[in-house]
């Protein structure tokens, strides 16, 4: 049995407290009136822009953002304006626009962190189900680690649902399509209101989180039952069937979840492979966290039978799925860039113009770095290299989620400041607290698993 060390009891609590305080500061310091926005802008942009925040100047800087897409710049701008519910950028309209972005900022930071940690648990759950459905012989030693990580699914899902519900009750302006003012003047969103309406949105969210949590609940229960009565593998077979059914449900629901929770931030934009793209992101983050938690537990002497071949396998998955993510990222980007259809390409124009560093930086973190570091067989067996690559991949996928959410919610007013870092710390604390508490609930080796012997002697 795993017991929590003193540090692991204290660290998550410190993280939660620090994160909560920081986030509270973020919410309090968000401007509430246009005058505050003017002061804020005057203070922060005085040196480089001076008075350039007059509407005309802003428009001008937009047009010079990227020569490639200069033709469509006007369209991109009109799109952004419509999202915030404005028709023109005259007078105080611009400041009102910035005000809404700055008010969104702590909310969006909270949302990105909440979704990021939830998607780790979800990715691990999908990986867990695949291990059963594929009857993988190498992984049973790691199943309890995965069960521990997926324990975050329900609490994380509830937090995420509460945030979505708060948006639905107009506590914030994260989702523009939830604003009746905007919808009234926007025929495109009106046409999508059959899918994008708050009650249906929340019902769907409840179904996704509910069914995923149900699978998690029963899979863990069957796994424990299998330990107690391994004869005939009754519970193992049940888990096998349940996993197969779950995976079918998962790939549909995950796709719809990505439309709902991520793509609907830009309700004018759509992409068909978006669900896969989000899936690749959550899958690789999940596998990375499995590797990190496994290495941690092994370093503390709890997973003696896990050898470096198991780590090697996880590292291969991290490597392979990182490339898969890049493939989907590029497929989505290149198809849209190549055809350059105005209604689709605005998505990338806003990101390239306003988010150049995070947008291209994440390619280095999520693709170039893992590929160059983990292509070597020997390196994939060295713990510190896997940990280092894992941390870079996780940060990279945080930036990925950040890039998906922020441009539509805070636009040009982004920066990674107190709100963002605090939100990550807060959820990191909750995540560590939930996961490591769950790990103490059952023995770390599922002794009834029929493939356990194979897993113990696994070597590559």
């Amino acid at each position: 049995m795993y017991t929590l060390s003193k540090n692991l009891k204290l660290i998550p609590i410190i993280l939660m407290v620090v994160g909560a305080i920081g986030l509270a500061i973020g919410f309090v310091s968000a401007p509430s009136t246009i005058e505050e926005v003017k002061e804020h802008l005057a203070a922060s942009h005085h040196d480089d822009h001076g008075a350039s925040h007059a509407p005309a100047a802003t428009h001008d800087s937009h047009a010079h953002g990227g020569d490639t897409h200069a033709d469509h710049k006007k369209d991109a701008h009109g799109h952004g304006a419509a999202e915030a519910g404005h028709d023109a950028h005259g007078g105080d309209k611009h400041y009102e626009h910035v005000l809404h972005q700055l008010q969104n900022k702590p909310w969006a930071a909270l949302y990105v962190a909440a979704f990021f940690f939830f998607m780790i648990a979800l990715g691990v759950l999908a990986f867990y189900a695949i291990q059963f459905a594929a009857q993988a012989g190498w992984s049973p030693l790691l199943l309890r680690v995965m069960e521990g990580i997926t324990a975050y699914l329900l609490p994380g899902g509830i937090i995420l649902f509460v945030i979505l519900a708060l948006s639905g009750f107009h506590m914030n302006h994260l989702f523009v399509w939830m604003d009746p003012e905007v919808v009234a003047h926007d025929e495109l969103i009106q046409g999508k209101s059959g899918w994008l309406n708050v009650p249906f949105f929340l019902i769907r969210a409840a179904i996704y989180i509910g069914v995923w949590s149900l699978y998690r609940h029963f899979a863990v229960k069957y796994s424990r039952n299998q330990d107690e009565s391994p004869e005939g593998n009754v519970w193992y077979k049940k888990s096998f069937k349940l996993s197969a059914v779950f995976l079918v449900f998962f790939i549909y629901s995950e796709s719809m979840m990505s439309w709902d929770w991520i793509m609907s931030f830009d309700p004018h934009w759509f992409s068909t492979l978006f669900g896969w793209y989000v899936f690749a992101s959550l899958f690789v983050s999940g596998i990375t966290v499995i590797a990190l938690v496994t290495i941690y537990l092994k370093s503390k002497g709890y997973l003696e039978q896990v050898n470096n071949s198991h780590i090697h396998d996880l590292a291969k998955f991290m490597f392979g799925i990182s490339v898969f993510w890049t493939y989907l990222w590029f497929s989505q980007f290149m198809l849209i860039w190549y055809s350059n259809i105005p209604e689709e390409v605005t998505y990338f124009i806003t990101r390239i113009n306003d988010y150049k560093l995070p947008f291209f930086g994440m390619l280095i973190m999520n693709f170039l770095f893992p590929v160059l570091v983990m292509i070597n067989t020997d390196y994939k067996r060295i713990n510190w290299i896997v940990v280092m690559a894992g941390i870079v991949i996780l940060l990279g996928h945080y930036v990925d989620v950040y890039n998906m959410v922020m441009p539509a919610t805070v636009g040009q007013s982004w920066f990674i400041g107190i709100s963002e870092i605090s939100a990550v710390l807060l959820f990191l604390g909750i995540f560590i607290f939930v996961v490591f508490n769950a790990l103490t609930k059952a023995p770390l080796v599922p002794k009834g698993n029929p493939l356990l012997g194979e897993s113990k002697h696994f070597h590559y």
């Binding site: 020569d67 290149m334 190549y338 292509i375």
Partner: protein, 175 residues
């Protein structure tokens, strides 16, 4: 090198593995092992060095990537930068996404083909090459260990190989 060799035949890969292990402990010099299929872990037992084919492949991939980039940069950007369907051809980076599929394919092409050719050259394989197989049965169901016998007592070696489970032992001159 060795003018005389002993050929020991085995019928099972497990027996073969044990025999190789025993020969290694006794410090007999194994010239070659012939098997009808890959025997997992045999190379480790024999103490063969790890292959460097993967490193070659990686370098060939880099060559392919370089070829793709220089080729397209010269053709599409430097030599005749036309406006084709509005694609920006002012610099390589601006039109990069449309070059990526070719960059990828040429990287894979060079990495794969040059690695295979390297493999052929290093293993001395080509059409019309004379087969080096000492016995046809080793391609079917027999395993053969060739042990250097010029510097050791042949009788002692034969007796030792008999103990390891060899079904047939022949002393041969090696050309």
């Amino acid at each position: 090198m060795a003018s005389k060799v002993v050929h020991a035949y085995y019928l099972d890969d497990e027996v073969l593995m044990d025999a190789v292990k025993a020969l290694k402990i006794k410090h007999y010099h194994i010239e070659e092992v012939f098997t009808p299929f890959p025997v997992h872990g045999l190379d480790k037992l024999m103490g063969l060095p790890h292959t460097r084919l993967a490193i070659c492949s990686f370098l060939y991939g880099l060559v392919g990537l370089t070829v793709a980039i220089t080729m397209m940069n010269y053709i599409m950007i430097e030599d005749w930068p036309q406006d084709i369907g509005g694609k920006p051809s002012f610099s390589y980076i601006e039109n990069l996404p449309s070059f990526v599929p070719i960059m990828f394919e040429l990287t894979v092409f060079f990495a794969a083909h040059l690695m295979v050719i390297t493999f052929y050259m290093r293993s001395k394989l080509w059409p019309f090459k004379k087969a080096e197989n000492p016995d046809e049965r080793t391609t079917d169901d027999h395993f053969l260990v060739e042990v250097d016998a010029s510097h050791t007592d042949v009788d002692e070696l034969t007796a030792f190989l008999k103990d390891t489970g060899a079904v047939e032992i022949n002393l041969k001159d090696k050309e």
